[in-house]
């Protein structure tokens, strides 16, 4: 029979331990979990945004009930354990359940400390610890106006901020003369107080609460000096107490917390403990990062690997109040023998202080600009000698040299072992590696794969910056070349060059010539090679469907549930009643569950079954539509505004020009998606300056803009030039597009490409070299001859029918 493991405390540390254990040995135990709260495990840290209305309870559930089921874990919620019987090795719950254990894990967390003054048990006095507390506060905010938060620490300020967001008039009552004294020095604390006051938060400093006033319900507070404050809600956020009651009752040795050794074992070798309820080497912790480290160690021992040791943690803090950046770590108040380095810029509201001894950082406080916190924290933990860069250290790891891409540049400068997500201990190297090897494109994906930014979320900006700089590969032309993927040593540029110079016209030839290490390539290089071959040899190369991502192979966007979406092209966003009728009929006929007008000015039909695609396309092509290529690394749409024909500001026929541009470019495969827009005047209603190629019409002609995009990191276009006629617009557009098609790396959008090669290089090719421009345009048009074959029509007529039809069983 399997051994039985019982977890008491269905919270962040306990469940993280189980997750780590399941990773190491999924079948080691029959697991039962008891939780006092009625919820599955949720992200306690995120209660602050829930209170502030920025997130919902559903958003913060970390492990839904299905997770427990899937992993064979029995979960009892709303049923606290009331007794541990160590002799017969079982736990007893409040409802009377008795569950035997071979090993027991305690993770009971802590309770908010309620100051023992008269009246502290009145209705209207709450802590800030769990969902029930948040619900009570939200309820109160509906009924009442005045709130007092006792405690000007991390938790208190987050509570106060949340209550203010709910329209309450909030006063923070604090015993000390500065806020967050455990995390901030005087200067930073004052800056913080000032910004919070500017938002309307009130403060009573050096105020000692003597009594909570009220008869049946809180009406106010009375202080030691006799003064009073009116309040209908009192939140106590003065600290936490490890929840050791149960352990103590069972006779386990406890001091402030349940005492454990370096393997997270209590004095009873069958009982382990993790989380805030624990005291290790004399310390207790109240942040998740150390708890997650403890969880790893406990899991290692529960899985009987038995090598990990927990040796304590150094912690750092950030405040999760939207719009306020602060960071602190280590010994930030100097003592004798320490030196301090300070940068203070009142105009930007920035303050940074490093406490240094013997050229090593001992502590850091930052306010207003915290991006280098990660770096300082790393230097601190590693005890790095900073004498070499001491004079510039406060300017950060990387001096800014460009506009708008600050975060990215700075992130790029971080070393691979820099810790980005403090909560989950994820380094930059791990994130970059996951992005590259797993082909991640969104923040959510990075969260799912690495857990980075999945807990408190304050490193989200950094993770996004890493994402932006990694996805847009080679954001800064790096001297060291990066291989295209694990199958080869050659970089994108080398592969492109070989295809061109050695006239390699099929995939086998490329792989043989460049000595690919794998027989078939992989899901990263095959689509890239297929694209490069198509772009360079449009006449000779035959597209390889098996080297395309499913969206391009099936000519539709695969959705979360495995169905597809269909987007017919609407040139320039124009349409006729007949076309709309045709789309409506198709939608009815194939039971399309949802339709949406897209940002690219056309209509998306969602939820189509793969088998239905060819028939649906047939109906659409019969009505005169072609594919919108909304699914591909391809030319997507040309967005247009009303233009001269209808708009009183219009200077040119933006719609008509949009249609011409779309007729020129549709069907073209690209390294990445490619969008165009034409605005009829500088009011720019078509948002042409965040497109890959944008045209802004002016009285005297057309401004051409390149290299913009929306998305994770918005980039505004660079102005390429101004031209006078529509013909020129078409020529320049074709030439620019072809240059991008021939020279950018697969999956590199125009924005990072333009930054990599430089605007002046692009100008030299498109503006200064007239002959070269014409040649590019001609090559583009040649390629289009082969590309402008509507893939929908072909498939409606039976091409690649096997792609869409399931096989049938025969006996």
């Amino acid at each position: 029979m399997k051994e039985r493991l019982v977890l008491v405390g269905n919270g962040m540390a306990g469940i993280r331990t189980l997750e780590e254990l399941l990773k190491l040995d999924p079948d080691a135990y029959e697991i039962t979990v008891f939780g006092a709260e009625p919820w599955p495990n949720y992200n306690r840290i995120m209660l602050s945004p829930v209170l502030a209305g920025e997130k919902t309870v559903d958003d913060i559930i970390l492990n839904d009930r299905e997770w427990y089921e899937r992993n064979g874990i029995t979960l009892h919620t709303g049923d606290p354990v009331v007794e541990i019987d160590r002799v017969s090795r079982k736990v007893v719950s409040r409802s009377g359940l008795e569950v035997p254990y071979d090993r027991l894990l305690l993770a009971t967390g802590s309770d908010p400390f309620i100051i023992p003054v008269p009246g502290s048990d009145l209705p209207g006095v709450v802590g800030f610890r769990d969902i029930a507390d948040v619900e009570a506060m939200l309820e109160a905010a509906k009924k009442y106006r005045k709130a007092a938060v006792i405690g000007g620490g991390l938790l208190g300020l987050e509570a106060a901020n949340g209550l203010m967001a709910n329209g309450m008039d909030v006063t923070v009552v604090h015993l000390m003369d500065i806020l967050m004294e455990r995390q901030l020095d005087r200067t930073a604390a004052q800056m913080l107080k000032k910004s919070l006051e500017a938002r309307g938060m009130k403060f009573l400093m050096e105020a000692q609460t003597a009594e909570v006033l009220g008869e049946e319900q809180v009406t106010g507070l009375k202080f030691a000096d006799g003064s009073e404050l009116e309040a209908d809600l009192v939140v106590m956020a003065v600290g936490i107490r490890p929840n050791v009651e149960l352990a103590q009752k069972a006779g386990l040795y406890c001091e402030r917390g349940v005492v454990v050794n370096d393997t997270m074992q209590t004095y009873d070798p069958r009982i382990y403990a993790v989380g805030e309820c624990v005291q290790h080497r004399g310390r207790t912790y109240g942040l998740v990062a150390p708890l997650f480290e403890q969880a790893k160690v406990a899991a290692n021992h529960l899985a009987r690997i038995g090598i990990a040791r927990y040796e304590g943690s150094v912690t750092s803090t950030k405040l999760k109040v939207t719009g306020i950046d602060l960071f602190s770590a280590g010994e930030f108040n100097e003592s004798e023998g320490d030196e301090t380095l300070i940068l203070q810029d009142p105009a930007r509201n920035v303050y940074k202080k490093l406490v240094v001894r013997d050229n090593r950082i001992r502590g850091a406080v930052m306010y207003g600009d915290t991006i280098d916190g990660t770096w300082y924290f790393q230097l601190l933990r590693e005890g790095t000698d900073i004498s070499g860069f001491r004079s510039t250290i406060l300017f950060g790891q990387h001096d800014l040299g460009d506009a708008g891409h600050g975060d990215e540049t700075r992130v790029a400068a971080l070393s691979d072992d820099a810790e980005i997500c403090g909560c989950n201990g994820v380094t930059k190297g791990q994130i970059v590696d996951a992005i590259q090897t797993q082909g991640l494109f969104t923040l959510d994906e990075v969260r799912a794969h690495t857990k980075a930014s999945a807990s408190c979320g304050s490193c989200t900006g950094l993770v996004e910056a890493i994402l932006a700089s990694t996805v847009g590969e080679g954001y800064e032309a790096q001297p060291s070349k990066k291989p295209l993927c694990g199958c080869t040593e050659h970089s994108h540029d080398e592969v492109i060059q070989a295809i061109k110079e050695h006239e390699l016209k099929n995939m086998r030839a490329v792989m043989d010539f460049l000595e690919w290490k794998t027989p078939d390539g992989c899901a990263s290089c095959r689509p890239a090679l297929n694209y490069y071959l198509l772009a360079h040899w449009p006449e000779e190369y035959h597209d390889d469907p098996q080297s395309r991502f499913i969206n391009e192979r099936a000519h539709g966007n695969i959705q979360k549930d495995g169905t597809y979406s269909v987007v017919p092209r609407m040139f320039g966003g124009l349409c006729t009643p007949d076309q709309l009728r045709a789309i409506a009929e198709v939608a009815d006929k194939y039971h399309v569950p949802e339709m949406k007008v897209t940002g690219g000015q056309r209509i998306d039909l969602f939820g189509v079954k793969k088998e239905d695609l060819p028939a649906m396309w047939k109906d659409l092509t019969d009505a005169g539509f072609v594919s919108g290529h909304a699914y591909g690394k391809a030319m997507r749409t040309v967005k247009t505004c009303a233009g001269k024909k209808w708009c009183r500001f219009g200077t040119q026929d933006s719609t008509g020009l949009g249609v011409k541009l779309e007729e020129l470019t549709w069907g073209s495969w690209m390294p990445h998606k490619f969008k165009l827009a034409v605005s009829g005047c500088p009011r720019n209603c078509a948002e042409a300056t965040i497109k890959d190629f944008g045209v802004v019409c002016v009285d005297s002609g057309y401004e051409l803009h390149i290299g913009g995009n929306g998305g994770i990191k918005v980039r505004v276009t660079d102005l390429l030039c101004k031209v006078e006629t529509e013909e020129e617009v078409l020529e320049y557009c074709g030439a620019f597009t072809q240059m991008y098609r021939e020279e950018a790396h697969y999956l590199e959008r125009t924005a990072p490409w333009v930054e990599r090669v430089g605007l002046s290089y692009i100008k030299s090719r498109i503006l200064e070299d007239e002959e070269g421009r014409r040649a590019l345009y001609e090559r583009f048009k040649l390629g289009q001859k082969y590309a402008q074959v509507d893939p929908w029509k072909e498939r409606a007529e039976g091409k690649h029918a096997h792609e869409f039809r399931p096989l049938k069983l025969s006996a």
């Binding site: 992989c522 098996q546 399931p806 096989l807």
Partner: protein, 102 residues
């Protein structure tokens, strides 16, 4: 019960591609590798049930189209660092015909 059933001619499955078969309790994906072997897996990725049949086949693996997990065609297991496993069905190819044991 577990009989061999004919599902296709080998040629009906594109090389480095796949086809699906609907069976009572779900969909099975048949993959043909570059060495002309055929493998069958439940058409659901161990990660979030992504349709593996829609992925890119290389060597004896398929890359799931949703989040790029790589699944071993022989064992149905996700390649490290991911973990998970999907059902494998027995397949044989005899004189150009593909049979599935279900």
């Amino acid at each position: 019960m577990n009989d061999w059933k004919e599902v296709a001619n080998l040629e009906e499955i594109p090389r480095l591609g796949s086809r699906v078969v609907e069976v009572e309790d779900g969909t099975i994906a048949l993959f043909r590798t570059s060495d002309d072997q055929v493998f069958a897996l439940r058409d659901a990725c161990p990660h979030k049930q992504g349709p593996l049949s829609q992925g890119i086949v290389a060597g004896h693996t398929v890359t799931c189209p949703l989040h790029n997990w790589k699944i071993d065609l022989e064992s149905g297991e996700a390649l490290a660092p991911d973990e998970g496993c999907t059902n494998v069905y027995s397949v044989k190819v005899e004189s150009g015909r593909v049979y599935l044991q279900i």
